[in-house]
Amino acid sequence: MNIVVLVKQVPDSGAERNLSADNTVDRASASNVINEMDEYAIEEALRIREAHGGEVTVLTMGPERAAESIRKALSMGPDKAVHVLDDALHGSCAVATSKVIAAALGPLNADLVICGAESTDGRVQVMPHMLAERLGVAALTGARKLTIEPSGGEASTLTIERQTEEGYEVVTASTPAVVSVWDTINEPRYPSFKGIMAAKKKPVQTLALADLGVEASEVGFDGATSEVVESSKRPPRSGGQKVNDEGEGGVQLVAFLASEKFV
């Protein structure tokens, strides 16, 4: 099975995160890591390769620095990577981003595209369905479990359990498909020393917009379908009371809740 995993480099959510002067995510001064949920997607892809054979390709769109995350991803075990890198992409909205990633996916001819259900920077959750819409393939999103039944022929049957507010849905489709996963699906492996060494030699193809047949005017700030008008740091919450429990903490808490009409 030919699997592509989408990997995004994001600012570490445990560290200071800011917007730049142009209201894009400040990636230059941030401590950048692989989007956590994508590690689960990589793990799932590797498990499928182990069970059914095939090849795993990492696909990343991002600035030069994203190459660090690509190597990190490769050290877990994927075979190769594609890095979509073009200065004109800076400032791209989700709609334009999906256009670029769909264009990059085209020639890769994946049976299965796996990604994390959301990124920790934007938390927008729209990419899998945008890609499926553009590629005309199925989207099985929000999987906490994925099973694959090879049918002998070209297509395999994919079945997911999709977490919902009421419980879960069982959703099924044939390959090719886009699947997004939550962090409940598996436990990602740590890269081994051997994996880290091997990753240095794995092929990484760098593609620019021109290679994908996408015009610079369709992406970046020029091609954006939405814009940030202004941004500001939210003032820290203040004015809160803090009491030490000296035997009356529970009563004091309820008195506060009552004063706010919650009790």
Binding site: V95, A139, E169, G250, E260
Partner: protein
């Protein structure tokens, strides 16, 4: 006044609260039209509620074709409707499904999309937060119409001054093969008890690592039930197996924005704050006076939650 399309979400219990919020918001922007995309008979069961909140029209696409597939048919029907009526805006809930429908609609119409919006002004400027609620962002769609998903609990749902009498218009369901690729073969209800849904609850009581074990979560549930609240859990508590993942609040879990958030034994790591920082009032009980959760709280108790919480429960019972 121009129509504002509101995509209706419902559960077995009826119209979801976020839909009522959307109708309330839509009334400030134009003339609300509710769009029901569901199984056979879905619209008829909801007409009264939608009318109470001021839906001037109801569009309905119903049947197995809609209900039996994952979101793609809903987006296709909605795109046709948008092209037909040219609304002033399209509003959906910022739920998993709401965002997914909006994602497909944005591509189909080559239209901008704003998600997790807290407010939308009449000139189309949306308020959002970024980075665990620490940055406030105002943004607008610059291509196409305002296509917006609203975070649940952002607007107080208010019935219209006078209920409307909406006519129900059936929509043509003209699907392509690509809309039928992902089939929903089973829906399994898992949620236990009668507690409100986590993202829609007015009050959420969450437990963290400090709760200690799964059994002790009964204490969290007890306070929640006394307050009529939903129960949440921090990632640390979920990863430790204290409580199921679907109740996880924070990054990689649910984002909640209730009137009151009660954090018990939760230190308040940034990943947790990402899911609750826009709550209106926040209280916490934690034995560590330096815990970052106290940076957020309107009222914090530094103490042993196994002493403070039972006392609080007793006090609530006394006051009832």
């Amino acid at each position: 006044m121009a129509e504002v399309l509101v995509v209706v979400e419902a559960t077995a219990a009826g119209v979801k609260k976020v839909t009522l919020e959307l109708l309330t918001l839509a009334r400030t922007l134009g003339s609300p039209s509710a769009v029901v995309l569901g199984g056979t008979g879905a619209a008829a069961a909801m007409t009264d509620k939608l009318a109470e909140y001021g839906a001037e029209k109801i569009y309905a696409a119903e049947g197995d074709e809609i209900d039996g597939h994952l979101v793609a048919p809903k987006a296709t029907v909605l795109a046709a409707l948008v092209r037909d009526v040219q609304p002033a805006a399209v509003l959906l809930g910022s739920t998993q499904e709401g965002k997914e429908i909006a994602a497909r609609l944005a591509v189909k119409l080559d239209n901008g999309l704003l998600t997790d919006v807290l407010d939308l002004s009449t000139d189309g400027v949306a308020t959002q937060t970024a980075f665990a609620g620490q940055t406030l962002v105002k943004s607008k769609v610059t291509r196409g119409l305002p296509l917006v998903t609203l975070r649940p609990n952002s607007v107080t749902p208010t019935p219209a001054p006078a209920a409307s009498a909406p006519a129900v218009t059936s929509l043509d369901i003209a699907l392509g093969d690509a809309d039928r690729l992902a089939k929903v073969t089973e829906r399994v209800a898992e949620q236990k008890g009668s507690r409100p849904e986590l993202t829609e609850a007015s009050i959420v009581v969450s437990g963290g690592r400090g709760v200690g074990n799964a059994d002790n979560f009964k204490l969290v549930e007890e306070i929640a039930d006394l307050l009529g609240a939903a129960v949440g859990a921090s990632r640390a508590a979920v990863d430790s197996g204290f409580y199921p993942h679907q109740f996880q609040v924070g990054q990689t879990g649910k984002t909640v924005s209730p009137q009151l958030y009660v954090a018990l034994g939760i230190s308040g790591a940034i990943q947790h704050r990402a899911g609750m920082q826009t709550s209106k009032t926040i209280v916490a009980v934690n034995k560590d006076a330096e815990a970052p959760i106290f940076e957020l709280t309107d009222f914090g108790v530094v103490g042993d939650l196994f002493k403070v919480v039972p006392q609080a429960a007793e006090e609530i019972r006394k006051r009832k």
